[in-house]
């Protein structure tokens, strides 16, 4: 018997350049695990399904693959996540939405099946503000500053707005919002507005072609790249690759490192790519989104491993059991080191209440040819995030008439 992981991916369409390395990372990690004996002997089987980043195709993929015994899904898109959030509890399939999805779904007591591991758009926005404050020399220095959010006009792009508004109130900066229609190939007016407002900082909440276009428009309107800060989905190679040196100085959040030093990357190169079984091109291994794909898959695998510890080693876990595993992840530094992920990400541990597990992230900078210059780790401010998560979770539960999970449910 094998543990089945459906892989919802997009290798075509407007978001393909970003979706592809991510999808490759996910697959390569499975290949690595299978080549090194599986999860306590349980091999992983998988099947890719192309969503093209479109919600309805995503739903079709989900329905198709769930019948084949899906036990864990990473939808790779916030839109698809929204659509699956209602279906997952019925079908008992947990969703990993690492660094994306509904920010409120951190609240495990309402969103039993969602796992926005390692960060949500609220933590992301919070950390960016913290980083800017630090640059300026303290939160009090933010007073009177102008910060502009240039965002993908979709639920994904709108997620950080409530947090930023909260922060603007708290820290006294002036927030302005500039939407960019998807997919974001025409941004002249957005950047003319930036030029008019002359903000002190621009936050970039984009995905796919929107990011590189934004950088090019910034070049064309002379907005300094050093003052631009992207979310972690706007901080990978495809976003800056063809802007090249012009994008030098641009910053973005980093959930993970990139590069080929980590042991797990080396393992993959050896065990998978050298055998000619690599999913994508070898040069791509270790890139930002590829590595993120690895992490997502690793967390899934570790959730199964954790579940096996409780429900029986060497057995195939059900969706429900995997869910339990995800809810009880405890990856400390030692474990991460053992898995070959030292330095790639911070330790993470989840609980019934907290489905995120870690609210830490760093900021990295494009030096014209590669991502580097990692900042220190920041942790999102609990004081702000917690009440927002709770309020949003409660509202959701009320709307959906969902009962809150019992404490006993958590223990189970």
């Amino acid at each position: 018997k094998e543990q089945f992981f459906p892989l919802l991916v997009y290798r075509t369409g407007p978001y393909a350049p970003n979706g592809t390395p991510w999808a490759n990372g996910k697959q390569d990690y499975i290949k690595l695990i299978n080549a090194t004996g599986g999860i306590n002997g349980v091999k992983i089987s998988y099947e890719e399904c192309e969503t093209g980043y479109a919600t309805d195709k995503g739903v079709e993929c989900y329905e198709r693959l769930k019948d084949k015994g899906a036990t864990l899904i990473d939808p790779q898109a916030t839109g698809i996540t929204f659509a699956l959030t209602d279906k997952a509890p019925v079908d008992k399939i947990p969703l990993i939405t690492l660094g994306y999805g509904l920010s409120a779904s951190q609240d495990g007591s309402v969103f039993k099946w969602n796992f926005p591991l390692m960060g949500s758009y609220w933590t992301a926005a919070d950390i960016l503000i913290q980083h800017i404050a630090k640059k300026e020399g303290g939160f009090d220095k933010l007073k009177g500053k102008k910060i502009t959010l240039v965002y993908h006009d979709s639920p994904f792009g709108k997620e950080p707005i409530p947090l930023l508004q909260e922060r603007a109130k708290m820290n006294g900066f002036e927030l302005s919002l500039i939407p960019v229609a998807a997919p974001g190939i025409e941004q002249k007016s957005a950047w003319l507005q930036v030029r008019q407002q002359r903000p002190d900082y621009v936050l970039l909440w984009g995905w796919g072609v929107m990011n590189s276009t934004a950088l090019k428009e910034a070049v064309a309107t002379g907005y300094p790249r050093e003052k631009m800060y992207g979310v972690w989905w706007a901080g990978a190679e495809p976003d800056v690759k063809d802007v090249g040196a012009s994008a030098k100085g641009y910053n973005a959040l980093a959930l993970n490192t990139s590069g080929t030093q980590p042991k797990v990357i080396q393992d993959i190169l050896k065990v998978v790519h050298d055998k000619g079984q690599g999913t994508g091109p070898r040069e791509e291994v270790g890139s930002v989104l590829y590595t993120r794909g690895l992490i997502i898959q690793m967390l899934g695998v570790e959730a199964v491993r954790r579940a096996q510890e409780r429900f029986g080693k060497g057995k195939v876990m059900t969706g429900e059991q995997v869910r339990w595993g995800l809810e009880n992840l405890a990856l400390d530094q030692k474990k991460l080191d053992a898995l070959g992920f030292s330095g790639v990400l911070r330790p993470i541990s989840t609980s019934c209440q907290d489905h995120m597990g870690s609210t830490w992230a760093r900021v990295h900078t494009w030096d014209g040819s590669k991502w580097g210059g990692m900042s220190d780790w920041y942790q999102a401010d609990e004081q702000i995030i917690k009440p927002m998560v709770k309020a949003a979770g409660d509202k959701y539960a009320a709307e959906k008439k969902l009962p809150k999970r019992e404490a006993s449910d958590c223990a189970a």
Binding site: T55, P155, K401
Partner: protein, 354 residues
């Protein structure tokens, strides 16, 4: 059984005006309906229902609505997505804002709101024709996309613009499982198909077609362009709106404006063209072609045990899909419905070739 109409004499105009004047067709249709209502729910898998049949039914309903406008009245619309969105979000608002609003009423009220918006954007059709009219409907498309993203009130203040419904029930009967949802969609689809068929074979349908074929002559025989065009917009958007509401409520249950974006509008237009403009049946053929074919193509490599990369498979799927569209148009430029009726005509002559 041979497919013949010999011996079937129509002794009254009523008999001649039946939807399916040929007995064999009538029987076939009844069997098909019986199968759809009574057999499918038992044999279809959950996947088949949820991922194929329900979207197929809803989109054919939308295509049916669009066909009234484009196929029967000759007004090209690229704003179908918008009218679906209006249907969906309006139904949503009735659903969440009015306690105890029955599902069916929400859906119909959604359709009604879509009617209002449809008629509004249909007004330019009195002056603008052909492809130029596409601008008016595209304006609707983009405006509506924008409105649901930007105007919070319309989405019940959901920060992201995405809304969701749960716990549907139809006069007390739950609409939760795939089968229940399927039956709801099927019933509505059959109902609207009947109503639409009745309309297009009545005076109003003839007015629409007259407008489409030769508007000056239509005016000369006393058809009012305003009335003909705006009723077409109204009826079409109503059906499209209901389909939109179903798409949101029944198929997706959580949706964002992107679910009804311009791609949807194009997709529906393609359905009616490939299915057959001005044919109720064509709407179903078109929906089947556009919804099902990609799925079939997508799964084809699997059936043959080929393992090709996802990207390549998907590119091949595009290519084959594109090539098939061209192929069918060459075989029958008037769409699949016409192909079907030509085939029947041949069958009727069979075994004598002409």
């Amino acid at each position: 059984m041979l497919y013949r109409e010999n011996g079937q004499f129509k002794s009254s105009y009523r008999a001649d005006q039946q939807i399916f004047p040929i007995l064999q067709d009538r029987v076939l249709m009844l069997l098909l309906l019986a199968f759809a209502f009574a057999v499918v729910p038992f044999i279809a898998s959950e996947y088949f229902l949820r991922a194929i049949l329900i979207p197929f039914l809803i989109l054919s309903l939308a295509a049916l609505g669009l066909n009234i406008l484009v196929g029967y009245c000759g007004q090209i619309s690229l704003g179908t997505g918008a009218f679906m969105a209006v249907g969906a979000y309006a139904a949503y608002n009735f659903h969440v804002r009015i306690e105890g609003m029955p599902l069916l009423f929400s859906l119909l009220l959604g359709g009604l709101c879509a009617t209002v918006v449809g008629v509004l954007f249909g007004v330019p059709s009195l002056r603008i024709k052909g492809l130029y009219l596409a601008v008016a409907t595209l304006a609707a498309q983009f405006f509506v996309d924008w409105a649901f993203l930007r105007i919070n009130w319309l989405t019940n203040n959901s920060a992201s613009g995405s809304v969701s419904v749960a716990g549907l029930n139809l006069f007390g009967l739950p609409v939760e499982t795939a089968v229940q949802k399927y039956l709801l969609c099927l019933a509505l689809m059959v109902l609207f198909a009947m109503l639409a068929k009745n309309l297009v074979r009545s005076a109003i349908g003839r007015e629409w077609m007259a407008m489409r074929d030769m508007d000056v002559a239509a005016a000369v025989i006393g058809i009012r362009p305003v009335y003909a065009k705006l009723t077409a917009f109204a009826v079409s958007s109503f059906i499209v709106g209901v389909a939109g509401a179903l798409w949101g409520f029944v198929h997706l249950s959580t949706w964002e404006p992107a679910a009804f974006n311009i791609d949807r509008s194009f997709q529906l237009l393609f359905m009616v063209i490939i299915g057959g403009l001005g044919s109720i049946m064509g709407s179903f053929f078109g929906a089947a072609f556009i919804v099902l074919l990609p799925l079939v193509l997508n799964q084809m490599p699997g059936w043959f045990g080929l393992s090709i990369s996802t990207a390549l498979a998907s590119h091949l799927e595009f290519m084959i899909f594109g090539a098939l569209i061209v192929f069918f148009l060459i075989v029958e430029p008037h769409g699949l419905a016409r192909l079907w009726s030509t085939a029947k005509e041949k069958l009727r002559l069979w075994p004598f070739p002409h």
